[in-house]
């Protein structure tokens, strides 16, 4: 058994000593050629002989019971095989890292759009037709509450607070007391959720689109009632996750159940509309922010309360004020959350849960405070960086927030920025915001095998577009002195050592560290063979040097050297607060007559500790920034006020950013750092940091350009025009 390494204190910076020169480089993704030539197999990209097609049926009531599935209307449809429902059906996807089946409600319906049955047929066309014609009879309970603002069941936490609020608030020279709202949002990964299941002698194999296989295996096993050892999941390519594929959902469970019943492979691919209905959304929020400062701009009080929503029985609540709790310091702090229990599609993790909506609002409110004080917003932020984490008293680990603010401002040309200028019918202005996102280390295992021919990395880690294939090859190659062409990375198969999975931006740091430790074990073995201390060993381009001996790995490694390692969070996470940091700068043009907002340029400068791959990290950061832009300007779920169902459940009506929305110059870069308390590689997560605050920079730029504050997101033209009119412009 490999023993688990606990991250209790910093390790020497081995990656700064190694010689291969692979880590940190902008290496191309090794999976790239397969992806650009259409040869990377995603979950639905296969149809073994005899596969039946399943299409999910949704509930069209909000609350009640299914009393009968009337199949008589299907009689004339050729090729219908079965209609399945039953006690194992799941209501919604498992929340991230649940490790057990999501709620299995039986005939009970808890939201409009809930998957209630699967129609299976010989062809996709027949299954789709039959799913639409199936007549469902209900016992409609009626009266379901679907509006968070009028919900009768609201759970309110005790506030997290420190300091004397009334005293601090009372002596302020400048104050902001504002309420912002953000609408529901969805992940909308381009690959719809898909699963192909088949059973062989009581053992289930599932090709799925999942982010966290170690947990998904347990969730699926629990849902279908078998031991996890009887379940194998493969997800070598995942067409985007963003939280929507953290847990096992209706497509996987129904495919597994149908395949077991029918004794043949079954493929279930959610229609895009089903992805909207039956996959966890991001909650809408209402956020009350209060800021008070003295005349010098030092924060005296910072309060951030929020109202979110979820279904009864779902434990997840958007951690809206996560970053608000540790980014700035103030004499008095107060954070309080309320959760309204309503019957809409349940909510869960969507990329950067918490920061994606919380930091937009906090950073817009801080901009309002800068306005009240007549102070430069960069200056105001620099002034309020605390010495220790305000609520917990923890020390910060690497934190280059001030450098991101200063250097970002410099590179953007903040001091020379256009201020409320006019370019024809366009009003021009610039805004900025800070970024912060907690960095986590979570349990992960990996194995590295070294032969004379090269190394193989094995772990059930996924690559959801994040670059796992690239960075894990770089880590192993760097430690073992091998060029990229000599390292193969095998991922996303539950038969391999259990990784962290992709979520919470902890994948690279956690699983990467497991690969690091596994490769370090091999280094120790090589040093012993060479007769030197591990510290004296040098590995480069397949050559090992130490104790005045030089040998090629081909000579040194007769058979195969295997290193396996597991890492878990330890004391370091308690003693130190590790986070990714950054600053966004943005220039927008607001159309004076139509209210249209165009982002002209955007710069994000981030501290993510050691950069593992400059190319993929930049892509992640820019992608996050564009998510923030979309959240600020276009993304919004609309719910039917009677039934709560999602009215704009497709990509024509739910507006994710398109090329033309992101047509400005959008750039990201990093301040190079080492976060010794984060993990053995001194790296930090990047996938969600780019979203944190970026929408706030857009909102603040709108204000700078047009003099209006849009406090109800997104800033669509109708709201901008109304605000312009109200301001008499």
């Amino acid at each position: 058994m490999t023993q688990t390494f606990k991250m209790d204190e910093p390790l020497p910076r081995l990656l700064d000593e190694t010689r291969q020169g692979l880590i940190g480089t902008p290496m191309n993704r090794p999976d790239g050629p397969l992806k650009v030539s259409g040869r990377a197999d995603y979950a639905a990209d296969r149809l073994p002989d005899g596969t039946a097609h399943g299409v999910l049926v949704r509930a069209t009531i909000t609350k009640g019971k299914v009393t009968r599935l009337d199949e008589s209307a299907l009689a004339g449809i050729e090729g219908v095989v079965a209609v399945l429902s039953g006690p194992n059906f799941v209501r919604n996807p498992a929340q991230g890292m649940a490790g057990e089946s999501p709620v299995q409600p039986g005939p009970r319906v808890d939201y409009h759009g809930q998957p209630i049955a699967l129609v299976v047929a010989e062809t996709f066309e027949a299954a789709r037709d039959a799913a639409q014609r199936l007549v469902v009879e209900y016992d409609d309970a009626g009266g379901a509450e679907v509006d968070p603002d009028s919900a009768s069941e609201v759970e309110t936490d005790d506030p997290d607070a420190t300091g004397d609020w009334d005293e601090a608030w009372g002596r302020a020279a400048a104050k902001v007391d504002v309420t912002y709202t953000t609408p529901g949002q969805v992940s909308a990964a381009m690959e719809p959720h898909a699963a192909l299941a088949h059973w062989d002698s009581g053992r289930l194999t599932l090709h799925g689109s999942q982010q966290m296989l170690r947990f998904n295996r347990k969730e699926l096993a629990d849902a279908v009632g078998v031991d996890p050892s009887e379940v194998r999941i493969l997800s070598p390519y995942v067409g985007g996750g963003f939280g929507s594929k953290l847990g096992i959902g209706a497509e996987a469970v129904s495919a597994a159940l149908a395949s077991r019943d029918l004794g043949r492979p079954v493929r279930v691919v959610m229609a895009r509309q089903t992805v909207f209905d039956a996959v966890l959304r991001r909650t809408q929020t209402s956020q009350h922010v209060r800021l008070a400062a003295d005349a010098d701009g030092r924060l005296l009080a910072l309060g951030h309360d929020d109202l979110v929503s979820n279904l009864p029985e779902e434990s997840f609540a958007e951690p809206t004020t996560n970053a608000s709790q540790f980014t700035y310091g103030a004499a008095a702090l107060r954070f309080q959350q309320s959760v309204a229990r309503i019957h809409r599609t349940p909510s869960g993790s969507v990329r950067a849960p918490g920061e994606a909506v919380g930091m937009v609002v906090l950073e817009a409110a801080v901009d309002e405070l800068a306005g009240e004080l007549g102070m430069d917003p960069v200056e105001l932020r620099l002034k309020n960086i605390p010495d220790t984490a305000p609520l917990t008293g923890q020390d910060y680990s690497g934190r280059r927030l001030a450098d991101c603010l200063r250097q970002g401002a410099e590179r953007f040309g903040w001091a020379q920025r256009p201020k409320a200028e006019r370019d024809g019918d366009w009003l021009i202005g610039c805004g900025m915001a800070a970024a912060a996102r907690k960095n986590m280390l979570t349990k992960a295992a990996a194995r590295v095998r070294l032969t004379g021919a090269g190394a193989v990395v094995e772990t059930d880690m996924t690559d959801i577009g994040t670059g796992s294939y690239a960075i894990l090859a770089q880590i192993a190659g760097e430690l073992l002195g091998l060029p990229e062409s000599k390292v193969e990375v095998r991922l996303a198969d539950t038969d391999l050592p259990g990784a962290s999975g992709s979520g919470g931006s902890f994948g690279a740091g956690s699983t990467g560290s497991a690969v690091f430790l596994a490769a370090r074990r091999i280094r120790e073995q090589l040093a012993a063979q060479l007769g030197c201390e591990p510290g004296e060993l040098t590995l480069q381009d397949g050559i090992a040097r130490g104790a005045n001996v030089e040998k090629s790995l081909a000579d040194l490694v007769q058979d195969e050297l295997v290193g396996e390692a597991e890492i878990a969070s330890g004391e370091a996470a308690k003693s130190h607060l590790s986070a990714g940091w950054g600053a966004h700068f943005c220039e927008v043009a607001v159309h004076a007559w139509t209210g249209e907002v165009r982002v002209r340029r955007m710069l994000g400068l981030f501290d993510i500790g050691r950069v593992l791959n400059r190319k993929t990290a930049t892509s992640q950061a820019v992608g996050g920034m564009i998510w923030g832009l979309g959240g600020a300007l276009t993304e919004e779920l609309h719910h039917d006020p009677r039934t709560g169902h999602i009215a704009n459940r497709d990509l024509a009506n739910y507006h994710v950013a398109a090329h033309a929305d992101a047509a400005g110059r959008i750039e990201a870069d990093f301040v190079d750092d080492r976060d010794d308390w984060a993990n053995p590689m001194q790296s930090k997560g990047v996938g969600e940091l780019g979203i944190s605050g970026s929408g706030g920079a857009v909102l603040n730029a709108i204000h700078a350009a047009a003099g209006v504050r849009i406090r109800h997101l997104p800033a669509t033209p109708d709201k901008v025009i109304a605000a312009l009119e109200a301001a008499g412009r």
Partner: protein
Amino acid sequence: MHTQLDVNGRAYALDHDPRTTLLDALRDHIGLYGTKKGCDHGQCGACTVLVNGRRINSCLTLAAMHDGDEITTVEGLGEPGALAPLQQAFVDCDGYQCGYCTPGQIMSATGMLEEAKAGDPSHVSASLSGDVALDDSEIAERMSGNLCRCSAYPFIRQAIHSVEGKE
């Protein structure tokens, strides 16, 4: 029903349900899974292929309507070890993350470059006639039917820029 398709230079005789889309015919009948389904409703562009040289959303058209047509899918452009310049440019510029929208982006860009060469104007073109200068805003406009939720947009356009005029 029966349809004859010429896909990437190879003839396929299909026996299929009349409701089968061109997209599903390519994927599930022919086994060319490079063309992706993101929405099945013409809203995302993941299913873009060339039909007789023009780009089209293959989810919005029935296989039966393409008897005898020449179809090019992403597999037909190149393969690992022998990638087309545009495919290689996507790898070099990191013009993707998850890769799911990528075949559609690449096929759409391939068709788009031809349209621009032929002088087809777009919504942002200064003039309805004459040569088209493919600057960033032209490319962004012409590629806006291809969504990328990973938001690799700047890098996708960099990749397109890098091959423009070279092929």
